[in-house]
């Protein structure tokens, strides 16, 4: 079993495997709306490889981070739909 880490997403505590991407961790927690588009639509990950920028979230106070290229880290604080 891989190690577990604690992350906080929109104020909710999640315990997730240490070796998954943040996008995978959010999808596993049934969060599929990551950002709000220019006209207010919900968008989630698409390309899974850092190209499309649809999975942007706020991580530890920094906006527009791509959840798909970001590994989870213990204590990470994430906000979606920023």
């Amino acid at each position: 079993m891989p190690d577990l880490v604690h992350i906080r997403v929109d104020g909710r505590d999640l315990v997730v495997p240490a070796d998954v991407s943040l996008a995978a961790a959010l999808l596993n927690a049934r969060i599929d709306a990551f950002r709000s588009s220019a006209t207010g639509d919900s968008r989630g990950p698409v390309c899974g490889m850092g190209i499309c920028f649809e999975c942007r979230v706020r991580i530890d106070g920094v906006s527009h981070r791509r959840a798909c290229t970001e590994p989870v880290r213990d204590g990470m604080e994430v906000f979606t739909l920023g």
Binding site: P17, R43, C52
Partner: protein
């Protein structure tokens, strides 16, 4: 300039081509640094969780570790400029790197084309969903529709099935005749046929329908079903759809390398038209992992060498065979006109700026579209809508400018004054 590091060879991208290039360069005694956006080397095809290295990747990744090449992970290259007779590479999370030679191994991305509902959450690109599964997305018990076009749909369906998903349908837009013609062209490459058979067996219970495509994705807040051109409606949790691959040529274009319809133009030593810049793998035209490894190996050797040298027969044979198959594939899986007409007036085409199809009624070029509608001006810098506009309207791509990827002000402020 802030802190800097000087090397012989900077490899941009740590997929199979970049890894092979870095190994061969470093093993010849060159100082090599290889940059990648991802947390670990391997690129898309060898993407893995750190605890689960795929066997095919292990050999090369172990070799890379032992080669002495330095890996800069989570390090997105956003600019490369002339520096004396070499190059200065600027990347996130790395000092400015002065390199004598550059090897472009930036891989490929998928061709995404707009259709009603394609922006709904849980509609992924085909390789995108596969990448997410490889990085830990648990799809066990989910119902998935795989659609679009090209050889990638098979391994994607296989990965999903192995991960416990129920693949309800694999919809290939190309005709049965085109797919059959391509398959029979593989007779001369038994390895490729075996790959296809192995993938097909992995989702043996699923229908692989040719001449079939999704006409609309439906759902409220997330996708819950798709409609196909044969009138069928399929309930699903996830959709994986892409229409083939597009080479990532942005860096090569920024450096002024000559490109053709397939990608960056290189000679038999993988050298581009710009002195000191080499390219290997998908940027030179979509051809898959075997070609990427062969071309990466040649590029690494060529970058480390002082002049021409004899290329191993096996390497050049792999390259020629692979490139021949790739040409047959491009022909077989061409996008049909019906796909170009799927987007409706209110269908989003540029996902970053939410520009709908109707806004393009009065545009005639990518540049005009950008100025008039903001299409291509968002975070992805036209990487998604650019190739789509090329397929939909024949607009050729915009010129490339630095920064190649959005970069932090901190990283940008360390840029050398030009």
């Amino acid at each position: 300039m802030a802190e800097s590091e000087t090397v012989d060879i900077a490899v941009i991208g740590a997929g199979p081509a970049g890894v092979a290039a870095a190994c061969h360069g470093a093993e010849k005694g060159s100082r090599v640094v290889v940059f990648d956006e991802g947390p670990t080397p391997g690129g898309q095809i060898w993407r893995h969780r750190p605890t689960r290295v795929p066997p095919a990747a292990r050999i090369w990744l172990d070799r890379l570790r032992d080669s002495g090449a330095r890996v800069r992970a989570e390090s997105s290259v956003f600019d490369v400029v002339r520096h004396g007779d070499g190059w200065a590479v600027s990347a996130e999370n790395a000092p400015t790197t002065i390199a004598h030679r550059i090897i472009i191994a930036t891989g490929a991305r998928e061709l995404l084309l707009p259709f009603p509902g394609w922006t709904l959450p849980n509609v992924f690109s085909a390789g995108g969903l596969q990448a997410l599964v490889k990085s830990g997305f648990d799809v066990a018990g989910k119902t998935v529709v795989v659609a679009g076009s090209g050889a990638l749909l098979l391994p994607v369906a296989a990965t999903l099935t192995r991960a416990g998903a129920r693949v309800a349908l694999v919809a290939e837009q190309a005709s049965w005749r085109a797919v059959a013609r391509f398959s029979s062209s593989l007779i001369r490459s038994p390895g490729k046929l075996a790959d296809a058979a192995r993938y097909r067996l992995a989702f043996a219970g699923t229908r692989y329908a040719t001449g079939t495509w999704i006409t609309e994705a439906l759902g409220d807040g997330r996708v819950t079903s798709v409609e196909c051109n044969d009138g069928r409606r399929i309930e699903c949790d996830l959709v994986a759809v892409a229409f083939g691959l597009v080479p990532n040529t942005e860096l090569a274009e920024l450096l002024g390398c000559e490109t053709g319809p397939a990608g960056v133009i290189v000679d038999h030593m993988q050298r581009t038209s710009v002195s000191g810049v080499l390219a290997a793998g998908e940027p030179c035209g979509i051809a898959g992992v075997d070609v990427a490894l062969a071309e990466g190996s040649i590029a690494g050797l060529a970058a480390a060498a002082t002049g021409d040298f004899e290329i191993e027969r096996a390497l050049s044979r792999t390259r020629e065979t692979g490139r021949r198959i790739a040409r047959a594939m491009t022909e077989a899986f061409g996008v049909r006109d019906e796909i170009r007409r799927l987007a409706r007036a209110d269908t989003v085409v540029c996902r970053c700026e939410d520009v709908c199809m109707s806004r393009f009624d009065s545009t005639w070029s990518a540049r005009e579209a950008k100025l008039a509608t903001r299409a291509g001006m968002g975070a992805c810098q036209g990487r998604v809508c650019g190739p789509a506009l090329a397929v939909l309207f024949g607009y050729s791509a915009q010129s490339v400018r630095s920064p190649l990827k959005p970069a932090s002000l901190e990283a940008l402020s360390s840029l050398e004054d030009e």
